[in-house]
Amino acid sequence: MPGALAARVAALAVPANWKVTASRAVAADLAGALHASAAGRLVLFSPPSAGIPERLAQMLVPHDGTPATSAALQAIRHLPPGNHTEVVALHVAATNAPSEPGSFPALRMVDHDGHDWREWREEFRRRFFRCPPGVPVRLQVTAGLSPEVIVRTARMIPADLIVMGWGGVLKAGRALTLRAVCEATPCPVLLVPAPRGGRTHLRTEGARGHPMYRRRASIAHSGL
């Protein structure tokens, strides 16, 4: 794992309490990287053809609207604030709606252009990620074949790192996008497996957490 980049990745991994695989052998070996990631590890895959960036100025986070790929967006939450990294969250709209419960794919119907995409972005952010203060995030939506679009966008930005969440399942026919991106990537790819099992964690802060309702009034009550 290249030094400066490894330090950055470690910064992501430590607060998330992930086990990080930092083997040079794995780093350039796709099959090995996928196996390590499928085992629940955070793996930085860096093929010889990919450049090694000095710093993380531009980070590309592809997403297909499924909770599985949202693991990558969760990772962004742990970026140190004010580190001058811009995140481009790239949503590649699939022609078929994802079947995973809780998925939130790109709009298939847009009644009012002036509103619907803005509101979709708001809901997408609330559903899948919260960014630390000071980290600019661009949420971009596009269509097409996912791997090609992701690699093309990574070249265009140009991205220093692609962060890809995935379901962690290596069966035939699965993780096709991830494999294709890793094979053609112009930069290192951080593989983030989706958390395994268990119910969705609930954080209950009460309505006071909602910005629309900050003030409180004492409620008067009396016996019946």
């Binding site: 298939r108 119907m109 609930l202 003030r215 009034a217």
Partner: protein
């Protein structure tokens, strides 16, 4: 734990028994457990509203995922940094509770959820919640709540809740009511008086609202009632909230709840569409009707209905053509008073529509594409496209068909009610002013014809087009109705007509010009192919079949890009088919089918307004199974979150469209000048379709199966079956048989009329 009480067992019955939802699964929507990702979607579905306030279905103690809100209908404020986009006022979060067991605050993430169930009971108009939790200490707690926005006493809403624990310690529920905080609110103040919490809200450059909230908590049981009063722009408060609340508390929550349930029963009797053989269709329809009924207010014309009603923040409560064309027809035939109030909003905003027309160099009235309380156009001018680019939004500048849509709604109201008083004092003026607009909007071309150029039709993938068939035909229709209303009004009340002529400065030459323009507008219809061309040059564009690109629905401009979409025949939603749906009289089935067969394959259904209209048009073309497919696509808009943004509110146009697909499509109901025409045809999986209608003062019940029709009228009405001749049916029950493709004459059944 064996010595602890069983909290999963129901309580005994009794006068004080906690209310329960109905058993019938076709009258309720139930969500079990808690999905953090979908919570805001559930909150939209579970809104309780009464046309005056709408409270999202957020759980009482709130979660980080919640978007809690109580919206105040018809009251808007203007954020200081955005003069053009007013937003609907938020009221206090009056349902908030803070359940505590001793010092422990109860929440879904504290311990283990044993049961979490929410039920929206359509029939009673009540949202129920049951929640059992095992705390880390092993103690089990049970919480129940029921809430409603009273449909009988529309200023009131109520919440009942109770908490129990297995260790016998009391659960307290009461918490401090959160007050709204939004840039569009200029002033929020509260005070306590006689055990009530009084909240005053003043919208920035908008109206005002007052809430009084009273809570009682005894023996683990809490009752809370809230009263609301509004004042729109320049109007006075509706009521005194503390007086209304004091009266309600004196009567008690059970009395209020019983009255509310009775009112819902009554409304369902005038609106329910019963489908046998297709439980999914039935549930979807009741979900749609529940939200439509909840959005309307027959007692006040202070508010119109926004595209998401009172269910979510999307579109900031703005009013679009969705209201007149998709939502209003439901009310026309079920609660005409609500339809009248919706049109009263347009009448009240006529001055803004006149100003808008004048500012653009036209005469008459051009209604805003998006509007709030004052009728000013508040369509955003720019938006961030999916690819991140900022793009201009032209709908506010070019989607002028809204003026004809409003005129169309006025005429539909007149056809369905024959309400002369409204026509004389409001409707006629709207029709005259919108006709006047179209006469000035059309230009005479070198070919001697009149043309309406630089417009957007319902298919918003194609902007800045000329001679859009929908716009031209609606404009022509509007001009003709303007002339008809002149004759009609002159006949009914000549002095009123003269007063209007004088006030509007209307000259006979102007009326004559309307006829010339109406005749001069190209219909874009080719008699040989029987096709309407969507707009001038449409047939020369790249021919794209939508289904070849991706499974529908899809956003075409996202999939193939805005520019290619613009240069192709890929269309967003019913456009020519919308025209055939809105102006169906005199169209042959052959013509409808030819246009359906051409345009349906080229439609991506990239709008929630599309599937239900395709369903209705397919049914009128005799394509009943395709109609059913589209019916289910329309039903999925919110319940399957097809739009992807149900979290921000329920799509009321889709709900209204679903009613139209059932009643106008499969029910074959058409209001014509001389009669109500009925021609029900069912898809294979529907064994029976039954619904009520209010038409020109007669309450009609229709029940159809695949070969028989029953009609029940409480007074005489002119009715035509299929393409048969109109016939006056007196009060009574009638039956007709479908023989081949034609209905037999309706024969009176001597049995007593159904209740």
């Amino acid at each position: 734990m064996s010595d602890l009480p069983d909290l999963s067992a129901p309580d005994s019955d009794g006068a004080d028994a906690f209310p329960e939802p109905v058993d019938d699964p076709l009258w309720k929507l139930e969500v079990v457990d808690y999905d953090r990702l979908r919570e805001r979607e559930v909150e939209s579905w579970f809104t309780v509203a009464n046309g005056r306030t709408g409270t999202r279905g957020s759980i009482e103690e709130g979660t980080a995922e919640s978007s809690p809100a109580t919206y105040v209908a018809g009251v808007y404020g203007r954020p200081p940094d955005s003069e053009t986009e007013p937003e609907l006022m938020l009221g206090p979060y009056w349902i908030y509770l803070a359940p505590r067991l001793l010092e422990t605050h109860l929440s879904l993430d504290l311990g283990e959820i044993l049961e979490h169930r929410r039920v929206l009971d359509f029939r009673q108009g009540i949202l129920f919640r049951t929640w059992r939790q095992r705390l880390p200490s092993g103690v089990e707690t049970r919480f129940r709540s029921a809430r409603f926005a009273s449909i009988s006493d529309r200023a009131l809403a109520a919440l009942e809740a109770e908490g129990r624990s297995s260790d016998g310690f009391p659960i307290t529920l009461v918490g401090e009511i959160p007050l709204p905080s939004a840039p569009s609110l200029e002033h929020v103040a509260f005070s306590r008086h006689d055990g009530l919490l009084n909240v005053e809200l003043v919208a920035r450059k908008g109206g005002r609202a007052w809430f009084s909230i009273g809570t009682s908590e005894v023996d683990n049981r809490l009752e809370r009632m809230t009263a609301v009063s509004r004042a729109g722009l320049g109007s006075e408060p509706e009521i005194s909230t503390d007086e209304a609340l004091t009266n309600a508390r004196n009567e008690g929550i059970r009395v209020l709840r019983d009255r509310h349930r009775s009112a819902w029963e009554q409304l369902w009797r005038s609106a329910d569409v019963a489908v046998e053989g297709d439980p999914q269709a039935q549930l979807s329809l009741r979900f749609a009707l529940y939200h439509l009924i909840s959005s309307g207010d027959p007692e006040s014309d202070l508010a119109s209905i926004g595209a998401r009603g009172l269910t979510g923040p999307a579109y900031q409560g703005h009013v679009f053509w969705d209201t007149e064309v998709f939502v209003l027809p439901f009310f026309l035939y079920t609660q005409p008073r609500v339809a009248r109030n919706l049109l009263a909003y347009r009448y009240r905003t006529l001055p803004a529509a006149r100003t808008r027309a004048r500012n653009l160099g036209y005469r008459g009235a051009l209604f805003a594409w998006e509007s709030a309380d004052d009728g000013e156009d508040c369509t955003p001018r720019m938006a961030v496209a999916p690819d991140g680019r900022v793009v201009p939004i032209l709908t506010g500048l070019q989607e002028h068909h809204i003026s004809a849509d409003v005129g169309w709604a006025v005429w539909q109201y007149w056809e369905a009610t024959r309400d002369e008083e409204f026509l004389l004092h409001c409707g006629a003026e709207i029709l005259v002013e919108t006709a006047r607009f179209w006469a000035s909007r059309a230009d005479r071309g070198r070919d001697g014809r009149h043309h309406i150029t630089h417009v957007i039709g319902p298919d918003e993938y194609h902007e800045d087009v000329n001679d859009n068939a929908f716009t031209n035909s609606l404009a022509k229709w509007n001009l003709e109705r303007g002339l008809e209303i002149a004759d009609l009004l002159n006949g009914i009340d000549p002095s009123r007509w003269q007063e209007l002529v004088s006030r509007l400065g209307l000259h006979q030459t102007e009326l004559a010009d309307w006829g010339v323009v109406a005749q001069g507008l190209p219909s874009m219809f080719d008699p040989e192919s029987k096709l309407y061309e969507e707009f001038a040059g449409f047939f020369q564009l790249e021919d794209i079949i939508a289904a070849d690109l991706a499974p529908r629905p899809f956003a075409g401009d996202l999939l193939i890009g805005r520019e290619r979409t613009r240069r192709s025949q890929l269309i967003k939603q019913a456009d020519v088919l919308m025209l055939l749906h809105m102006l169906p009289n005199g169209l042959s089935r052959e013509l409808v089918r030819a246009n359906y067969r051409y345009y349906e394959p080229r439609t991506s259904h990239g709008s929630s307004l599309s599937p239900s209209i395709h369903s209705a048009v397919a049914a009128s073309a005799g394509l009943y199974e395709e109609a059913l497919t589209y019916f289910h696509m329309g039903a999925a808009v919110d319940l399957s979150d097809r739009m992807g943004n149900a979290a921000l509110g329920v799509h009321l146009a889709a709900a209204g469209g679903l009613w139209q697909a059932a009643v106008i499509g499969f029910g074959g109901v058409r209001s014509q000048a001389d009669c109500l025409r009925i021609d029900p045809r069912l898809p294979h999986s529907w064994s029976r379709l039954q619904f009520p209608l209010a038409w020109r003062g007669t309450n009609i019940k229709l029940a159809a199966d695949r070969s028989r029709l029953e009609i029940d009228l409480d007074s005489a009405a002119m009715v035509a079956l299929g393409d048969g001749r109109p016939r006056r049916l007196s009060s009574g029950r009638y039956r007709a048989e479908l023989r081949g493709d034609r209905w037999s004459e309706a024969e009176e059944v001597k049995a007593p009329r159904s209740a």
